[in-house]
Symmetry: C2
Subunit: 343 residues, 2 copies
């Protein structure tokens, strides 16, 4: 047999790659180990800011943009309080929390969304949240067994959509076009995100989110700053500060309504005084009443790296958190590896 390894030419490292110009600077933030080796690596970006925009800690480039995705939901819910819709429709704190949720479609979530719609004089037929199976596996299995197709109510975003519809009803905006950028509701949300995060409107970039409403992109640092403000009310005008505190308090008092059984957002809010909201493609938004906000993005969009990276970062901020390292189990129940933060 020919020995293969003695005859090779110098390898052309990256010879096939077009280059990474324009990609945001990040750093390895968590690893998946198996046996003696690192099997997979997750890179990420992170910024911790105070309400004045001071960067307290960071990983990677804090000025680079991220799509906040569902981590923007607490901001998207602000008009519910600011317009008076929440008060006039007598929305409960549980309902406000589900309006900020990426929920599991467990029964309490569905009941709260139905209630927002009913109080606004609407029905499930008005929801344009799109349909996907419940995020919570047992609920997804129940639907399969019943033969019922998933509907817009089961969408993890249905609370946000119900909240948006409630604002439209309250303000006299057309309900059928509530998802469209440029229409009054979405313009108002864009203005608010820019204001809370200390940006000009044109510094917030807009694309389409998977559920059909605008998705917002902004610098990591601005988002972390906005989270510090949203959680404390600091550096915000009084009315906006009040609305932010109402939303934040509702989420922190009802962590289950924001996500559900087995979910990291719920777990972390249950065990700390933090405001926590995750978003698709591995985004996590955290706000501390002690006066800082943290925005985290796992560069590759892998949800499994959010928990270890976030817990380690929060630990370094002095928050008492659960163990950040978790085991990877094989099909016989044995430990085959572990996921570890590099923070």
């Amino acid at each position: 047999m020919t020995s293969c390894l003695s005859t090779s030419s110098a390898p052309r490292i990256g010879s096939l790659v077009r280059g990474d110009a324009g990609l945001p600077e990040d750093a390895p933030i968590a690893v998946v180990r198996r046996g003696a080796l690192v099997e997979s690596v997750h890179r990420g970006r992170l910024a911790v800011c105070d309400p004045d925009g001071e960067v307290l800690e960071s990983v990677g480039d804090p000025e680079a943009y991220i799509y906040a995705r569902s981590a923007a939901k607490p901001f998207q819910a602000l008009p519910l309080v600011l317009t008076g819709a929440a008060e006039d429709f007598r929305l409960t704190d549980r309902e406000l929390a589900v309006a900020c949720a990426s929920h599991n479609a467990e029964e309490p979530h569905l009941a709260a969304v139905r209630s927002i719609l009913k109080k606004s004089g609407l029905t499930e037929d008005d929801l344009q949240s799109g349909a996907h199976p419940p995020l919570y596996e047992p609920e997804a299995e129940k639907l399969i067994i019943s033969g019922e197709e998933p509907g817009p109510l089961h969408s993890n975003c249905s609370g946000k959509h119900a909240g948006m519809l409630a604002v439209c009803v309250h303000e006299g905006y057309e309900t059928t076009t509530y998802r469209e950028p440029g229409r009054p509701l979405q313009q108002r949300i864009l203005d608010l995100i820019a204001e809370v995060c200390g940006l000009q409107e044109d510094e917030v970039l807009v694309a389409g989110d998977n559920c059909g409403v605008p998705a917002f992109a902004l610098p990591l640092r601005s988002f972390a700053t906005g989270l510090a403000r949203l959680t404390t009310g600091n550096a915000l005008p009084d009315e906006l500060a009040g609305a932010a505190m109402r939303i934040g308090d509702a989420m922190r008092e009802h962590p289950f309504m924001v996500a559900g059984t087995g979910r990291f957002d719920t777990e972390l809010m249950d065990s700390t005084d933090l405001l926590v909201k995750g978003g698709a493609e591995a985004v996590l938004a955290v706000g501390s009443p002690e006066g800082w906000g943290m925005a985290l993005k796992i560069s590759d969009g892998s949800e499994r790296a959010v928990r270890p990276a976030a817990l380690a970062a929060l630990g370094s901020m002095g928050v008492e958190v659960p163990e950040a390292v978790s085991s990877v189990r094989g099909l016989h129940g044995e430990t085959v590896g572990r996921i570890e933060p590099l923070i």
Copy 2:
């Protein structure tokens, strides 16, 4: 409102990170775009080698190790042919292909696995492949509706386990300990992987795979070299070359048996003359009868990046392949983004 962005100190880039010493050199290999921005980035490593170990193309460090995971299955099936078990038990090419599979648990897969066991004088009770729901969603739903729990037969690795058991029966090895490293079967597999890939036995690192058999780690370049040899028989002793060709031909003649409906391995073998086998944590092994092997690892383990990166790399090797860019669809069916290779 205080402007936040004018008062900040210089950000401490990576101030929280412990450093990436020891992590393999890789490069951005695919991106997920949304609107005007890159939302997520996948890095990767890739080596294309000829049967003599010459590196023809590479991304990242070709000497760094990867766990081959299920991409090693064609190597793990070699003893089936080499010992004469395949011939003596009259295994069909479809059965040899399922012995190399990470299958969908569709009916033809289950039937072939049952047949290997029966021909070896064994039953499903001898399988120690662990249980998980069928990879193919409609089959998983059927099980849920029927109330049947997934069993070892449904495991995507059940063909590999059945093949291992067949060798044990043929060689008179204990069947109950077939998964254990150091026992005759697993030692024989380790020796073969080292030999085909041009390594010393102690240069192949062993850990536990999720299905309970050894998982093998080796340098990316050695794995690509082994794939070039496995597919062509070049640089291998005659007996080994013959066994390799028998395995490779069975897989390429029965792409469905290696994976199943909607799977990339099956799609790519259906449309080319390549040998293709994926592995967990986003590994892809490819062999070309033209005389080269390609080993690809997406650093973060994300399956979604395998297809675009592999198709672009194969395109650059002169293989006629389908479009590498794919759309990301929202819940209303609209295009919200796309996954693009950087190769």
